[in-house]
C-alpha cells in the first residue's frame, strides 16, 4: 500500500514542449470577440439556411398577407375589400352592395343627406345626398352593403331625423335617434 501511495505521490514528468504545443493550438483557433449590435449588423457574415426554411418563410408571408387583408377589410370596410377580392377571389367574395332608396318628407328642408354605418357617418358623402323631388319629398338611391346598418337623415347639416318608415334603433348614446336597415342579397 505504501509503495502504491508513494508511486501516486511522485510527480509525473511532463515534456517542456507540451505547454508550447498546447498554447500554439489555442492561438490558432478563431478569436471570439464580443461584437456590438452595430458591428453585428454591419459585419459581413455567411448565413446557412436549410432549404425547408424558404418554404416556412413563404407560408408565413402568406399568412401575414391574409391576416393583414382580413384586418384591413374589417376596419376599412369597402375601401380595402376590392383589393382583397382582386387578390383572393376564391377566398372572399362578399355580396355586392344593393341599391337602396331612402325617402324623407321634409317640406322646409334646404338640404337632406343620409348618414350611417355604410358611409362612415359622413354627411358630405356625395353619393348619399338626397334630391328634392317636389312636394317636400327628398330621396336618394344609393349603394348599401349587405348586412345590418344603423342610419339617420341629416337635414340642413344640423337636424338629425330617424327614418319614420324604418325600424328604430334604441340607442341614445349620442342623444339622437337612428334607424336600422337589413340589406339582403338579391336572389
Amino acid at each position: 500500500m505504501r509503495r502504491i501511495a508513494r508511486e501516486l505521490r511522485s510527480p509525473v514528468p511532463v515534456s517542456s514542449a507540451l505547454d508550447a504545443r498546447i498554447m500554439g493550438a489555442v492561438r490558432r483557433l478563431p478569436r471570439h470577440t464580443r461584437l456590438s449590435l452595430w458591428s453585428r449588423l454591419t459585419t459581413r457574415r455567411t448565413v446557412t439556411v436549410m432549404p425547408l426554411s424558404w418554404g416556412v418563410l413563404a407560408a408565413a408571408l402568406l399568412v401575414f398577407a391574409l391576416l393583414g387583408l382580413r384586418h384591413a377589410s374589417d376596419d376599412l370596410h369597402r375601401a380595402s375589400k376590392p383589393i382583397a377580392n382582386a387578390l383572393f377571389p376564391s377566398i372572399q367574395k362578399p355580396a355586392a352592395p344593393q341599391r337602396v332608396q331612402f325617402v324623407l318628407v321634409a317640406p322646409d328642408a334646404k338640404k337632406v343627406a343620409v348618414v350611417g354605418d355604410f358611409n362612415g357617418w359622413d354627411a358630405s358623402h356625395s353619393a348619399y345626398q338626397a334630391q328634392h323631388r317636389g312636394g317636400g319629398v327628398w330621396s336618394v338611391t344609393a349603394p348599401v352593403p349587405v348586412g345590418h346598418h344603423r342610419y339617420s337623415f341629416v337635414v340642413d347639416d344640423s337636424l338629425w331625423v330617424a327614418d319614420p318608415t324604418a325600424p328604430r334603433v334604441i340607442d341614445y348614446d349620442f342623444g339622437m335617434p337612428n334607424s336600422a336597415i337589413v340589406v339582403q342579397e338579391e336572389r
Binding site: 399568412v63 401575414f64 376596419d75 370596410h77 359622413d122 345590418h148 328604430r168 334603433v169 348614446d173 336600422a180
Partner: protein
C-alpha cells in the same frame, strides 16, 4: 443558421397592430379619444369580435359632435354588449347577427330571451328578427310581449320579408293611433295563421 422562426414571429406580431389604425378615426377623433377607441378596437379584435361596428360607433359620435368621453363610453358599452351577444349566439354567429343582437340587448332584451330566439330560429340568421324585435320595443311594445311575439313568429318559420312587412304594418297601425301591444299582437296572429307562402320551410 439564423432562426427564421423568430423573424416570422416578429412579423406576425407587428402586422395586425400596424394595420389596426383606421384612417377615418385618426381624421375625426382627438388624440386621447383616438388612443382609447383604438385600444378598445384592438381588444375586441383579440376577443374575435367584429370591430367595424365599434369604429362606426365612434364615427357616429364624432359626426354628432359628442365629446370624447361619451364616445369612448359608447364604444366600450357596445363592445361589452357584442361580447355578451357572441357568448349567447355562439361562435358561428355572423358580424351582422352580433351587431343586431347587441342592439337588442341595449334595448332591454335579456340574454336568456336572446338564447330562446336563437333556439327558435334554428340555423336561420337572426338579423332581421332582432331588428324587428328592437323596433317593436322602440314603439312601446313591452319587452316581454315583443320577445314572445318574435319568438312565436320564428317558431312558425316566418320569412324575413314577411317579418319586414309585419314591422311596417305594426308601425302603420301605431301611427294611425292603435295601441302598440294590440297592433303587434294582432298582426303577429294574422301572420302565424296565414297559410305559408310557397317555398317557406318551417324553422329547423
Amino acid at each position: 443558421m439564423i432562426c427564421l422562426g423568430r423573424v416570422v414571429a416578429a412579423l406576425l406580431l407587428v402586422a395586425p397592430a400596424a394595420l389596426a389604425q383606421d384612417a377615418r378615426l385618426s381624421a375625426r377623433l382627438d388624440k386621447p379619444t383616438l388612443v382609447a377607441v383604438t385600444a378598445l378596437v384592438d381588444s375586441a379584435r383579440g376577443a374575435k369580435l367584429p370591430t367595424a361596428p365599434l369604429v362606426d360607433k365612434a364615427l357616429e359620435g364624432a359626426a354628432k359632435g359628442s365629446d370624447g368621453q361619451k364616445i369612448v363610453t359608447a364604444v366600450r358599452q357596445l363592445s361589452h354588449q357584442m361580447g355578451s351577444a357572441k357568448r349567447v349566439l355562439g361562435s358561428n354567429a355572423g358580424p351582422d347577427e352580433i351587431k343586431a343582437a347587441a342592439t337588442a340587448l341595449a334595448a332591454g332584451v335579456s340574454e336568456h330571451d336572446l338564447a330562446v330566439l336563437r333556439a327558435a330560429s334554428g340555423k336561420r340568421p337572426l338579423t332581421m328578427r332582432l331588428a324587428v324585435l328592437t323596433d317593436l320595443i322602440g314603439r312601446d311594445v313591452p319587452v316581454a310581449t315583443a320577445t314572445s311575439l318574435v319568438v312565436q313568429l320564428a317558431r312558425s318559420g316566418v320569412r324575413d320579408q314577411d317579418l319586414a312587412l309585419f314591422q311596417r304594418n305594426v308601425r302603420a297601425d301605431i301611427d294611425r293611433g292603435a295601441d302598440p301591444t294590440a297592433a303587434a299582437t294582432t298582426r303577429a296572429r294574422g301572420l302565424v295563421l296565414r297559410p305559408a307562402s310557397p317555398g317557406t320551410k318551417p324553422s329547423e
